[in-house]
Structure formats: structure tokens, C-alpha cells
Amino acid sequence: MRLASVLLGLPLLLASLASAEDVLVAHPSVQTNEIDQPMLRDLFLGRRTTWPNGQRVVVVMLRGSTANDRLAAALGKTPQQLINWWKRLVFTGEGNMPEQVESDEQLAARVAAIPGAIGWIDRRDVPPTGVKVLPTP
């Protein structure tokens, strides 16, 4: 019973760990200044492929980090489910797999280099420079 409680509560625990230090970083060319929950889902689940000004959306994600776990939780998925969702898009022709990087530093650098790019990082690990910082929903 205790084990079941832990297992069932694990995702909720992950969600509750959403840190106030998590931020969205976008390429400076992105004109959007606020991202709400529906838009977060559209962007990071591949439903929206262009920004409101027509610029291409390029999603950059962390591989196997706690920040990525919190992004998945914010999207209502586990980290593996989030990867599986993108595979569904890739293998049905509906989208390209996001670029995956190993660290917050790499993510911030890639976002700064790619017009239209966006990612989710923990700013405690890296002060974002050269990118536009947006609050998480």
C-alpha cells in the first residue's frame, strides 16, 4: 500500500518540484513576450510550427535532466511519454524531432544561435545570455 502510494504520487511529486528558477529561453528574434499553458503545449508538442509572425518554431530540449522532467510534467507527460509523442510526429510525417542537447549551457547557446528557437532550462544552472527570457506558464 505504501509502495502504491509512492508510485501513484511520483508524478505529482515531480510536478510539484517545478522550480521558480525554470524559464523559457527564446531566440531574440522571437517577438512573443508571454507564453500561456495552451501555447506551451502547442510549441513543445509540435502542434504549432510557426510563431504568430510566420517565423519557424525550432524546439530545443534537454536530454535527461530534471529541468526536462519538469517540462514534461508541465505538458502532462512523463519524460519518456514526451519523447514518444515526438516520435509519433516524426514517424507520421507531422514534425521533426527537436534537437536534444546535454546541458543548460548548450541549450542556451543553441537557442541563441537559431532564429525562432525556444527551450526550457533551469536558470540556476546557467545565467541565460544572448537569449530572450520568458517566464514559464
Binding site: T49, R56, K87, V90, N96
Partner: protein
């Protein structure tokens, strides 16, 4: 007129690419999620191998006793986005599943997607048909907790018809503010039907012939409307699809008369379906490892069946074991049938530690609600999945069926069971 039609095993083709598939698999496992990207062209692929075994009846080939390893897929795709608003892609797929597929390499999808606005656009080419929650991803093991999608809705025999179509689709989505989002699409096109494909096997099961000289349809059409509700993780979908002008010209080979001397004559069978319509209402709730789904299907079809016997028959001869051929006038039987199929399922799955997923599904299907006593199937499915790495999974599944509506053999058991294993690697 009585027709005794026997099903003949389809010769298995050589599978020369399987050695290459093993190499692909090894490379894929060694490079987790490392897709090949060449100057903005992404290349991905997957390969799978399964095993399944049934009791009481055969299901898609010889699946009793030792079971069957004729259950594999391999796919590779390439996609590019030359413009912000334009995506191009193509995927090749080869699969083998019992007596269908036979590892023939086919274009799974190949289309251009022009995104005119944030969530509106046009697709042209060969693309997956939106139909129910999971039809577009029916070959993708990493998208489902089970080895087989609920067969009562995603009937493997109709895969040729439902998988993808060659045509055009317009789609659009709108934000409803606090009421969520609605997306919809309309599509129309043609279909690649093969004389030895899944649909041909299905017609054989329905006594429509042992072999076919032609199978075709005029066009397919359909639409979906999907509502992402304000309740996070809950989506509702209504799907409708149909086709016009289906015709299959087949021949059922004559056979011995059980317990008597002589044989039945060959039969030429022409099956036409003027209109076939189906609709699915779907609901899915996914939140933090928990996924629940429910889908309800209705199918309506009006079939015309013409059966013409060959103008000869055999009778016992004067000498033991001999027969005499008599030339007789051909006879023809015409029948019209209306079918109203109904099916539904409910499923629930949960992920433990992110890597393990357990699921249970209850499903039921009736072949024709217009005829009391028509074929039905009620089944339970229990499945488990383990994601060894993020790009390598294994699955196990056990199903227990009451009824034989989904049985493809000739044993018509009151109940039967299915056990399946599968592993898939992607890159």
C-alpha cells in the same frame, strides 16, 4: 448453390533485407536518439520483431502450436523544411504479419505540408488517414502500451483501406479561449489496393474468393474534429470516413465434396460496395503517466454480391475413382446485404518509474447489428511494456476472446487466446 471455399496459404517471399535490418538495429541501439541530420534533412527509422501464438484457431497465418515469427516491420524516413511554411517528407515501410505484408517495401507516406497559418494548412500527397485516436500511428510501437491496437476499431484486415490515402487534406485549428482548442480536417483521395493485400485476405475470410484479378475503389473521403478540452489532458474526437465504388473480382476454386464423390465447380465472385461509411467517437485522458481511452465505432455498408458458377461440374464416373465432366449452363446468384457494424473499447494504462507501462483493455465488436446472432467478439487484453532505453522497447501481451468475429481462421472457436511478444528499436 453451395460454395465450399478453402483458404490457400500465400507463398512467403524471400526477405533479403532482414540482414540489413539487423545491422540497422545494432547501429540504432548504439546511438540512442541520434537521428542522422544532413543539412537540415532529418533521417529516422525503426525496426521491430515480434512473435505471436494463438490457441484454438489460426490468426493471420499459422499461429497455433509453435506460434509465428512472421511479425516484423522496418521503416526509414527523411524529412526537410525548405521554407518556414513548407515541410516535405517520405517514409518507406516493409512489414510482415502472418500471411500479409510479406516484407514488401512500400511508400508509407510521402507528402508536402504547406502551413498557411499557425494551425491551418494543406497536405498533398500520400498521408496517414486521421481516423479515431490512433490510426495514424498504428504501426508505431513506441506510441502504444500494447502490441496490437484494439482490433475491434483498428481492424488489421482493413489496414489497406484505412492506413493512408493519396490525395489532399485541408486542416485548421482555432483557440476557444477558456474553452480549449478545436482542430478539424477534411480529406479526399484514392487508395492503393492490391490483389494480395490485407483487404484481399479479408474478402477471402468472407468467402469473397481465394484469389482476385482486380480490387479497386473510386475514392475515399472523411473528416475529423478534435477538441482539446479545458481539462488538461482530455481530448475528444469525432471521426468519419467512407469510400465509394469498391469492386473486387475474385475466384473461389472448386473443391471436393465432403463425404461424396465429385467436386464443386469454380465460382466467379464479384463483390461491389456502393457506399461504405463509418464513424468513431473517441475520448482520451492522459495525465502524468495515466492514460485512459474510450472509442465507439459504427459502420454502415451496402454490398452487392454476384456469384457466377463455372459452366461445368463433375459427377462420379462409371469406374471407381473416375469422374465425368458435364457442360452445363452457367448460373448466377445476386444478393444485396446491408451491414451495421458496431464496436467499442475502453482501456487504461499507467507508467511506473517512467519506463514500465501496464495496461488493460476491454473490447467488443458485432459484425452486423441488423442480424441477431451475427458474429461478435468480446475480449480482454492485458499488456506490459518496458522501455529499456529511450529508443528500445519490449512488450508482452495476452488476449482472451469470447467469439470469433476477429478470428481469421476457419475453426470458428467459441473462445480463443493470443499471446504476443515484440521488441522495437528506433533512431
Amino acid at each position: 448453390m453451395t460454395a465450399c471455399i478453402q483458404r490457400h496459404a500465400i507463398p512467403r517471399r524471400a526477405v533479403p533485407f532482414q540482414g540489413a535490418c539487423v545491422v540497422i538495429a545494432v547501429l540504432a541501439v548504439g546511438t540512442p536518439l541520434a537521428a542522422v541530420e544532413l543539412d537540415s534533412i532529418q533521417i529516422h527509422g525503426f525496426i521491430s520483431q515480434g512473435y505471436y501464438r494463438t490457441t484454438q484457431t489460426d490468426w493471420y497465418g499459422s499461429s497455433q502450436d509453435a506460434g509465428s515469427f512472421a511479425f516484423n516491420e522496418a521503416a526509414i524516413n527523411a524529412s526537410a523544411q525548405p521554407l518556414d511554411s513548407l515541410r516535405l517528407g517520405v517514409q518507406l515501410l516493409a512489414r510482415d504479419f502472418g500471411d500479409s505484408g510479406n516484407n514488401r517495401i512500400e511508400i508509407d507516406w510521402a507528402f508536402a505540408d504547406w502551413r498557411a497559418a499557425a494551425r491551418s494548412g494543406l497536405k498533398v500527397g500520400r498521408f496517414k488517414m486521421p481516423y479515431g485516436l490512433y490510426n495514424e500511428s498504428r504501426d508505431l510501437d513506441f506510441d502504444h502500451p500494447t502490441v496490437f491496437l484494439p482490433e475491434v476499431i483498428y481492424l488489421p484486415q482493413l489496414r489497406d483501406y484505412t492506413l493512408a490515402l493519396n490525395g489532399a487534406m485541408v486542416y485548421s485549428g482555432v483557440d476557444l479561449g477558456g474553452a480549449g482548442q478545436v482542430d478539424g480536417c477534411l480529406f479526399v483521395g484514392g487508395q492503393n489496393l492490391r490483389e494480395e493485400g490485407d483487404l484481399a485476405n479479408y474478402l477471402t475470410d468472407l468467402n469473397g474468393g481465394d484469389s482476385f484479378s482486380s480490387i479497386s475503389l473510386d475514392y475515399i473521403f472523411g473528416s475529423t474534429v478534435t477538441w482539446q478540452t479545458p481539462l488538461d489532458g482530455l481530448r475528444l474526437r469525432a471521426s468519419g470516413a467512407g469510400f465509394k465504388g469498391f469492386e473486387a473480382v475474385g475466384r473461389a476454386e472448386g473443391s471436393d465434396v465432403p463425404g461424396q464423390p465429385g467436386v464443386y465447380a469454380d465460382l466467379d465472385i464479384t463483390t461491389t460496395v456502393g457506399t461504405f461509411l463509418s464513424g468513431i467517437l473517441s475520448a482520451e485522458y492522459q495525465r502524468e503517466g495515466l492514460t485512459m481511452a474510450f472509442e465507439y465505432l459504427r459502420e454502415y455498408g451496402r454490398s452487392e454480391i454476384d456469384i457466377v458458377s463455372q459452366p461445368f461440374t463433375y459427377i462420379p464416373g462409371a469406374l471407381p475413382g473416375s469422374t465425368i465432366r458435364l457442360n452445363l449452363p452457367a448460373s448466377q446468384v445476386h444478393s444485396t446485404t446491408y451491414s451495421l457494424g458496431e464496436a467499442m473499447y475502453g482501456s487504461a494504462s499507467y507508467r511506473l518509474f517512467d519506463r514500465i507501462e501496464l495496461s488493460v483493455t476491454r473490447q467488443v465488436r458485432f459484425s452486423n447489428r441488423n442480424h441477431p446472432g451475427s458474429r461478435f467478439d468480446r475480449s480482454w487484453c492485458f499488456a506490459g511494456r518496458y522501455d529499456i532505453f529511450s529508443n528500445w522497447l519490449v512488450k508482452a501481451e495476452w488476449q482472451y476472446h469470447d467469439g470469433y468475429e476477429l478470428d481469421t481462421g476457419r475453426d470458428f472457436p467459441e473462445s480463443w487466446s493470443l499471446f504476443a511478444l515484440k521488441t522495437t528499436v528506433d533512431f
